[in-house]
Symmetry: C2
Subunit: 129 residues, 2 copies
DNA sequence: GTTATTGCAAACAATTTGCACCCAC
DNA sequence: GTGGGTGCAAATTGTTTGCAATAAC
């Protein structure tokens, strides 16, 4: 857990994730890194696992069960439509302050959070009922 | 999408989920229902899928990738330790009011949200560093 | 009687593991 | 030179699909 140096794979994974504007899947991540260096898919998963445990990378899960990873500092959240499955990014995080105040009332050390709203987007809610 | 009646399976799934205090996996759910009626695992997944789309059931994903389902009205949240993997339930939902106010500023119809904090629990943060 | 729902088993896909090889120090 | 990091391919797991049988109305 107390790891000072990042391995080659971990560095590559973190770097590519930090360049993305949106969370991406492990498979996509693998493709992107392969453009620059020889790397196996398993190594990508292993690096992601370590980075997650270090609190540097987080992931969210789409309605289809796919995991999408992003660098923690990005702190992006989504509203996802249960009907069409589209995810709409939110421009702000409603928990910014709350997380800080929670740090004080609890002995748990918070690295990051996941937050996602589910419901119906405007078009779907107009049609479906 | 516009479904008035619930099927036998859907009823069973929802009922069992409402009886649980904590989210459970689809496999556990299947075992529990099988005690009372003949049901296939696939049917459980199918029922969960419909109920999720109806906004009656939601799920969260553990660090190990397992999906745990619960009835939406329960609105339970967790703090999960990245080191030992344990999840600690939170007694309140910090978004109670916020979700309502969000309904007004956005055209998205919110059914429910997922929220989870990740970091280190007290024991792990004492040891690990 | 007709249509949607179900159970089963086979198929699928993402992820994890075992192991020999390679690189960094 | 040694130990951890890595690639590859095989194994594993949770989930989904096809289809004939069944239940609901």
């Amino acid at each position: 857990m107390t790891q000072v140096h990042c391995t080659r794979a971990q560095t590559a994974v973190l770097q590519v994730l930090q360049q993305q504007h949106e969370p991406i899947s492990a498979q996509e991540l693998h493709k992107l890194i392969k453009q620059h260096q020889r790397i196996g898919l398993a190594t990508v998963y292993r690096a992601l696992d370590v980075l997650k445990r270090m609190g540097k990378v987080q992931h969210r899960v789409t309605l289809t069960g796919e995991k999408l990873y992003n660098a923690v500092e990005q702190d992006r959240h989504y509203m996802t439509c249960l009907d069409c499955g589209q995810s709409f990014p939110m421009n702000t995080c409603p928990l910014k302050g709350l997380e800080l105040s929670l740090q004080h009332t609890s002995s748990f050390t918070i690295y990051y959070h996941t937050l996602e709203f589910f419901g119906l987007c405007e078009p779907c809610s107009a049609q479906g009922g």
